[in-house]
């Protein structure tokens, strides 16, 4: 019997992460990466952001916002390396690094959100 491929599972994560990233990442990056540092708008206070991030629903939202786009990156970047640099012989190493990175980021984000005092 042919070995069952995991491709569909990883592709689903890639796809879901693509949607989350497309809709939510730009506004977060625009605010925290450009608008606040450049003073385009008044940056919110530490207390406001902390109380916001501590809400259970927001914690869940932030966890999804970290996790899914990371798995989107892992899948896409893996194939970019395969096709762009033609490094198919490094298959296993790239797979481990990409998904290992995504899992590490997800676990760390979960740890931070869980322990937000």
């Amino acid at each position: 019997m042919a070995k069952q491929s995991n491709e569909a599972f990883f592709w689903t994560l890639f796809s879901a992460g693509g949607v989350v990233a497309a809709i939510l990442i730009p506004v977060h990056l625009l605010l925290f990466g450009l608008a606040f540092p450049l003073g385009w708008v008044q940056a919110p206070s530490y207390g406001h952001l902390l109380s916001l991030a501590k809400l259970p629903l927001v914690r869940l939202y932030l966890f999804v916002l970290c996790a899914l786009p990371l798995f989107h990156w892992a899948h896409r970047f893996r194939y970019t390396l395969y096709d762009g640099l033609q490094v198919k012989h490094l298959n296993e190493v790239i797979f481990t690094l990409c998904y290992g990175g995504a899992i590490a980021g997800t676990v760390y984000a979960g740890y931070l959100l869980w322990n937000l005092a």
């Binding site: 992460g17 693509g18 949607v19 990233a21 497309a22 809709i23 939510l24 990442i25 730009p26 506004v27 977060h28 990056l29 625009l30 605010l31 925290f32 990466g33 450009l34 606040f36 540092p37 450049l38 708008v41 008044q42 940056a43 919110p44 530490y46 952001l49 902390l50 916001l52 991030a53 932030l62 916002l65 970290c66 786009p69 990371l70 989107h72 990156w73 899948h75 896409r76 970047f77 194939y79 970019t80 096709d83 762009g84 640099l85 033609q86 990175g101 980021g105 760390y108 984000a109 931070l112 959100l113 322990n115 937000l116 005092a117």
Partner: protein, 147 residues
């Protein structure tokens, strides 16, 4: 010594045979194949946008870590984000994540065919709701953060 020379001489005198093998047609593709055409370049840039998506998540995680560590750590991170290097990185990342959003939304008509009264709906009508959702959700997130 003599045996080795003899062996060498024998090896030289015997013609070597190459077994017949049909040659595969496998043209060599340059590592820079994607630089030649605009469509290829666009494809690779679209795929590379994922790196900047990941970078945005790293920034988000850094903000969360600073939030957890306390007001001083948070203020320090905000100060560091004002450095020219950080601003250059966030600017480039912003263009790439917007590029990701646009290319992602525009893929919807290719993945989803909607027929209305037997006629296929035009692509832009399928892609358009994505942009509407993008705007509304972005405004909502910004409002929650800035409120």
């Amino acid at each position: 010594m003599a045996t080795q020379e003899l062996r060498q001489a024998t090896a030289n005198s015997i013609p070597s045979y190459t077994e017949f093998h049909p040659r595969w047609y496998r043209p060599h593709v340059s590592v820079y194949w994607w630089l030649g055409q605009r469509q290829y370049l666009k494809f690779i840039l679209r795929e590379l946008s994922s790196v900047f998506v990941a970078a945005s998540v790293v920034l988000l995680i850094l903000e969360l870590r600073a939030l957890k560590q306390g007001p001083e750590a948070f203020a320090l991170l905000q100060h560091r984000l004002q450095s020219p290097l950080a601003l250059a990185l966030t600017t480039i990342s912003f263009f790439f994540v917007v590029f990701h959003s646009i290319t992602w939304f525009n893929l919807t008509p290719a993945a989803m065919v909607v027929r209305l009264r037997g006629k296929r709906m035009p692509d832009f009508l399928i892609a358009a709701p994505n942009y509407a959702i993008w705007l509304v959700v972005s405004a909502l997130v910004a409002w929650l953060i800035l409120r």
